[in-house]
Subunit: 340 residues, 2 copies
DNA sequence: TACTAAGAGCGAAACGTTTCGCTTTGGAGG
DNA sequence: CCTCCAAAGCGAAACGTTTCGCTCTTAGTA
């Protein structure tokens, strides 16, 4: 039905091997090259990926396993990955595991069964057990955003230094004279949430302040959680003068909550948000945020996967730590010295 | 390296054909069935998808082409689709075409080259030309959210009745006594945006009101656009008493804009938003929204694709129109009669 | 003109499955 | 104990590539 390499051979009078070689970048005499090109166009030939995969054991397909597709941080990264891969002929098989470890393990198995050449994973499980089938099979793995210690030497990891990013954001608030600094953190089980909380604590202690549990609220990395925490923190600690919100969704929620309560930024509460996505740039007063380089994360991950797949001789570092920057806005005010 | 059907045959003493038949659901004597199962477990056998695809020309893979991955409406639907497909052994290859017609056409070709069994597409291009390679090849196509008239009889379409949803939302505002009703619409080129605007106009005219261009603002379906439009409309028409925002992102933006301007809902302006996503339910006052059945859209699309793939005898309707409902909140107030 | 590398071109085998068209088998009914 | 038939089992061919190990051309050199 569809044209095959054999049809091309028939039409051009050349041999199978020659056509195949040409298609894979080999050298062919100019006249023959023209003939092959002509035949391909005339017959509408496309290589059969099944046959090719059967011989080469390569699918030019990469699996992406993420905890949650409905999250702007995730989708921004995936968009970048997908773009980079597609331009090199790779397609992305995406599995949303709904933040469920069992589903995540199943997704990995499923993708391996589909013959993916590599796996990109923003892991839910902290043990890395779900990845062992991939490692056993020799499939390259790139971890996104979250490290898994026991796998550090077996997989690539791309992330930011969450502790120092959080520490610097908190230190900035302290430097501006704030003392009662609240934090809205993510789920306890999530790697980045732990590290961001740790960074906050380090900064507080370095300033001689013991973190007040009543100033910490867990917002589950969701808009609703951020919204609820903003209200809860204000109710529990009316004297809170600054707040650090540790992801984009919760920042959005907190801003909406503050607005509803007529709490003004930065006059009533100074705020540092997370992730410099479109909205953060547009609302007034402009938010001061910790900006993760999402585009670079995606690109770096795609690049690593491609290197592992196509240039096995190159041996890039296992760990890529990208830098988050504090993007100044107008949502933090400097406290009068007297009030400190 | 990996175990093949031949290894199973060797270990069990059975023939290739028997193993294959069993794997594909055929009948086999109980004793042999046990032997095969044992061998599969012992050897860790998994069917080779390339070989299988080569014979059957089926990849158990479906392509999904969408304009934009960073959009909650899109990702909610995709999550559902992916889930439904995966449970039936199908994987989803996702291509974000960045709202670019040329990229969209390329994505379709790319996916066909990958051998996808079906294509789900939320189309950017209105002509449907980009789908002709798929139709030529006989690959089933399901359109999401947006129809393409010339293809009505060749592809499946799953969407809501945008005109009537918008008409009813607007009519509700009119029924509550509002006359100066604004609308934030999406991009002119987008099917749903056109229809929603049309529904609004129909309702206004039915109430004897000629739509005021100064009460229409295009927010490009983005958070920033909704935010900007909310401010622009208030500036242009301070006497606007109600506003209809026609997608989720713009609704979020408008709410933030109103909050910043200290415009209270519903006291100063009544608001009907779009899409009943988590946030819409949680903010105060609760938003009145047009809720699209996103879960059902995803499920219906997946179901159609699966039927076309696995039950060619069934002939479902080409067009599936799902119902959007008006979910009442507290963001619309009834105007005093005198003010009408 | 003759010779020689290097470059082009070639056929056949192999990848792991499904499927076609048979043959064998087990056991129910007589 | 036979007969018979549906069910179960079978071998071989085919799917469309890539690749191995050759042979044949070609063009440059002597």
């Amino acid at each position: 039905m569809a044209a095959t390499i054999k049809d091309i051979a028939g039409r051009t009078g050349l041999g199978l091997a020659t056509i195949s070689k040409y298609l894979n970048g080999g050298n062919v005499r100019a006249a023959n090259r023209a003939a092959i090109d002509e035949a391909i166009a005339a017959l509408g030939y496309t290589a059969n990926n099944f046959a090719r995969g059967l011989k080469t054991n390569r699918s030019r397909t990469v699996g992406v396993v993420i905890p949650e597709l409905s999250n702007l941080f995730v989708t921004t990264i995936i968009t970048e990955i997908e773009d980079a891969l597609r331009s090199r002929g790779y397609a992305a098989l995406i599995c949303d595991c709904r933040t469920d470890e069992a589903l995540e393990a199943e997704a990995i198995r499923f993708l391996l069964g589909k013959g993916v050449d590599a796996i990109l994973n923003m892991p839910v499980g902290g043990t890395g057990r779900h990845l062992s089938p991939a490692l056993a099979k020799g499939t390259p793995v790139v971890l996104l955003d979250r490290a898994i210690e026991p796998l550090a030497s077996a997989v690539d990891t791309v992330m930011i230094d969450n502790i120092s990013a959080a520490r610097e954001a908190t230190a900035y608030l302290l430097r501006m004279g704030h003392r009662r600094v609240g934090i809205i953190v993510g789920p306890e089980a999530v790697y980045t949430a732990q590290r961001r909380l740790e960074g906050y604590r380090q900064a507080m202690r370095a300033a001689g302040i013991e973190p007040d549990p009543a100033l910490t609220c867990s917002g589950g990395y969701t808009i609703e959680g951020g919204y609820a925490c903003a209200k809860r923190l204000l109710a529990a600690r009316a004297d809170m003068t600054a707040l650090f919100v540790t992801n984009y969704e919760m920042t959005l929620g907190a801003v909406i909550g503050f607005n509803e309560l007529r709490v003004r930024m930065p006059d009533d509460v100074s705020v540092i948000g997370f992730d410099n996505l479109p909205l953060s740039r547009v609302i007034r007063p402009a938010l001061t945020t910790v900006a993760q380089p999402m585009t670079e994360i995606g690109r770096a991950a795609a690049r690593l996967a491609l290197i592992r797949l196509e240039s096995p001789s190159e041996q890039p570092e296992r760990l890529t730590v990208l830098e988050a920057r504090l993007v100044p806005g107008e949502s933090v005010r400097e406290m009068a010295m007297g009030r400190v």
